[in-house]
Every structure is written in C-alpha cells, then in structure tokens.
C-alpha cells in the first residue's frame, strides 16, 4: 500500500512557517505597540530620543540579541514565503517549481542578508 507515497519535504517548511507564525503573532504586536504607541506617547519630557540610532544599536551589544534579531527576520521571511506560496495555490495559480523556488529562495536570501547584517553592524 506504500509504493504510491513519496515522503514530503513539507515538514521542513512547515516548521519554519510555524515558528515564524508564532513570532509574527507574539512579537509583531508588541513591536507595533512599542514603536507605534508607547514611544510616541512617551515622547514627552524625558522621553526624547528613545529610538535614536545609537540607543537602538546599544541593544545589540549582547551577541544573543544579534542572533535573535537575525533569527526573527529570517523566520518571518520563511513564514511569509510559505504563506504566499500557499495563497497562490489556493487562488488556483499553480506555477510549479518556479514559484516554489522563488518563494523559498527569497526567504533564504532574506535570511542570509539578516545574518550578514548582524555580523557587519558596528559594535556600539
């Protein structure tokens, strides 16, 4: 009964998609709240410059923060790639391998760029 079934490599992409989805659900709203609401509201006396470049760069003094930053960007990209690919399928666009390669290829590219970025960013 097994001859017709080839093992799928979807688990790999699904796990990355799931991890990215978790991040998107947990981290993004917090970021929106922080950068979009809290910081502008706190910009009163004493709150100036909360998001200044040097300050934000200071967050990256610890190497773990750099790994987390690159990891978050990469996982969000994999999440988006998987979503776009499946959305195309749901809309009846079956562009085959080309679409798959361009979706996951872009995610891989973004991951590489994110890694390069945190390596090359100057130390505060």
């Amino acid at each position: 009964m097994n001859a017709r079934f080839r093992r799928s490599h979807e688990p790999l992409f699904w796990l990355l998609f799931g991890a990215g989805g978790l991040l998107a659900a947990l981290v993004l709203p917090a970021l929106v709240l922080f950068t979009g609401v809290i910081v502008p509201v706190a910009r009163g006396p004493g709150g100036e410059g909360l998001l200044d470049y040097t300050r934000v760069l200071g967050l990256l003094a610890w190497p773990g923060a750099r790994v987390a930053l690159a990891g978050s960007i990469a996982l969000l990209a994999w999440h988006a790639a998987h979503r776009i690919l499946h959305l195309c399928h749901d809309l009846g666009v079956h562009a085959g391998r080309g679409l798959k390669w361009s979706c996951y290829g872009s995610a891989a590219l973004v991951s590489l760029l994110a890694c390069g970025l945190v390596i090359l960013l100057p130390s505060p």
């Binding site: 009964m1 080839r6 799928s8 979807e10 688990p11 790999l12 749901d90």
Partner: protein, 253 residues
C-alpha cells in the same frame, strides 16, 4: 408567521444518456414544517417527477448516502428540516468535487480506493506460534483507551467533508479529511499494531501535508468527527518523525 403552502426546490440535474448540459429544474413541493428535505425529494419522486435520482437509505443521518449541496453547503438531506429552509427557494446540487453519475448521485470510487491506502482497518499483532496455538483472547479496552479513538470512529463515510475541502477540489490525489481521520482512528486504537504501515501515506504530500487547515470539513461533519484536528495532530507527528529521521540516519528506511 403562517406556514407557506409550498416550498420551491431547485435541483441541478444531469442524465448521462441525454446530450443536454446539466440543467436546473424547479419543483413546488407541499410544505410541512416537520418534513425533512429528503422527504421533500421523495415527494418529488413519487408525485411530481419520477425521473429525479438521488441516494438515500436510513433517513436518520447514519448511513451517509443522502449527501448533496444545499444552497452551496454540503448537507445530509435527511438531516435538514424544511422549516429551517423556509421560505426557500432551496437549491440542490450533487456533492461538489465528485464525478456525477446522474442528478444528485455522485461516484464515491475515489474515496473507496483511498480507504485501503490509509490502512483503515485494525492490524493484529504479529502472530507468534505460541499466540496462534493459544485460544484467541478478547481484546479488552478501558474507557480511556476507547475515548482515544471513539470520536473518529463515528464517521459514516458521507463525504460531506470532501465537498467542503477546497484542497481536495484543487488536488483530487489528496487523501482527504475522512480517510485521514480514519487513519488517526486506527492509529489511536490500543488493539491496533498497524501504525508503521500507515506512515508512508501519512508523510506524503498527498497525506497530511496537502491540508492547509481550512477547517471547513469539521464544520460540515454531521457526526462531530473533527477531521481537521485529526490531520493536524498527525502533521505534528509527521514533522517530528521527519526531524528525527534526518538527525538519526538509519532510524527509518
């Protein structure tokens, strides 16, 4: 509100021996608040138009043969009361995603072929000589062991979930909700020893991985089977095995 005298039922019809394309036919059927949609169809067949074809048997939502699209949603016609469809009109079509044999009758062969593919039967333990010689002992189960699979065992093979599943509509190779729920049903049974044999089907693209968790299968199931849950628990299991097989070469294959 006074009851209407009649209710308008429109049926998408097609007969293989006529050259015509499918056509809509309307019937004014006497209305009774406590009549089911299936009874209305039987009234049409008995009194108005003997050529209308549809399947039914139990008329009590347990044989799974009377499924059709009712106003675009897969339903058992014996499980719907006319009073919930009034004032009408009610539009009936054969179950979506299946080849039509005639009128509301669809061809279930694809599903029947998938049942053996997912190993939808209990596999006994390897027969040892000692076990074969001993008189067969009853397989006892605790209520907790039974609860593990009972929900999935309620499937009546009505195929409403296949009509509800857009992924099955896009890709008929997909094993689909009911078959994958039955896979989970047999895997979860303490008497079963066939899990290894079901893995290849589970781990394939056409197994759990064609599902994108739309969840409409679970919404339309008249038996509360929840195929979406069965499939997505097996996705986790399949992904776990994928990672372990990758990290520990020789673990499988």
């Amino acid at each position: 509100m006074t009851d209407p005298e009649t209710i308008l039922i429109e049926v998408l019809r097609w007969h293989p021996d006529t050259p015509e394309a499918p056509w809509w036919q309307s019937y004014e059927v006497p209305y009774r608040a406590d009549a089911t949609l299936l009874e209305a169809l039987q009234t049409i067949k008995d009194d108005l138009d003997g050529t209308l074809t549809f399947r039914w048997s139990c008329r009590m939502a347990i044989c799974g043969s009377c499924g059709c699209m009712v106003n675009g949603r897969p339903e058992l016609s014996c499980h719907l009361l006319l009073r919930d469809l009034a004032p009408g009109p009610v539009r009936l079509e054969p179950l979506a995603h299946f080849p039509v044999i005639r009128d509301l009758v669809i061809d279930q062969q694809d599903f029947l072929d998938k049942l053996p593919a997912v190993g939808a039967y209990l596999v006994p333990a390897e027969e040892t000589e000692a076990a074969a010689a001993a008189p067969a002992a009853p397989s006892r189960q605790t209520p907790a062991q039974m609860a593990d699979y009972y929900q999935y065992a309620q499937c009546i093979n009505c195929l409403l979930c296949y009509s509800a599943c857009p992924q099955y509509g896009l890709k008929p190779d997909f094993l689909g909700p009911a078959a994958l729920a039955l896979m989970a049903r047999h895997d979860a049974d303490s008497r079963d020893h066939g899990q290894a044999g079901r893995r290849a089907a589970r781990d394939a693209d056409t197994g759990v991985w064609d599902c994108t968790l739309v969840g409409h299968c679970t919404e339309v199931c008249p038996q509360g089977v929840d195929p979406a849950r069965a499939i997505n628990r097996n996705k986790t299991a399949s992904a776990r095995d994928y990672v372990f097989d990758l990290l520990l070469p020789g673990r499988r294959r």
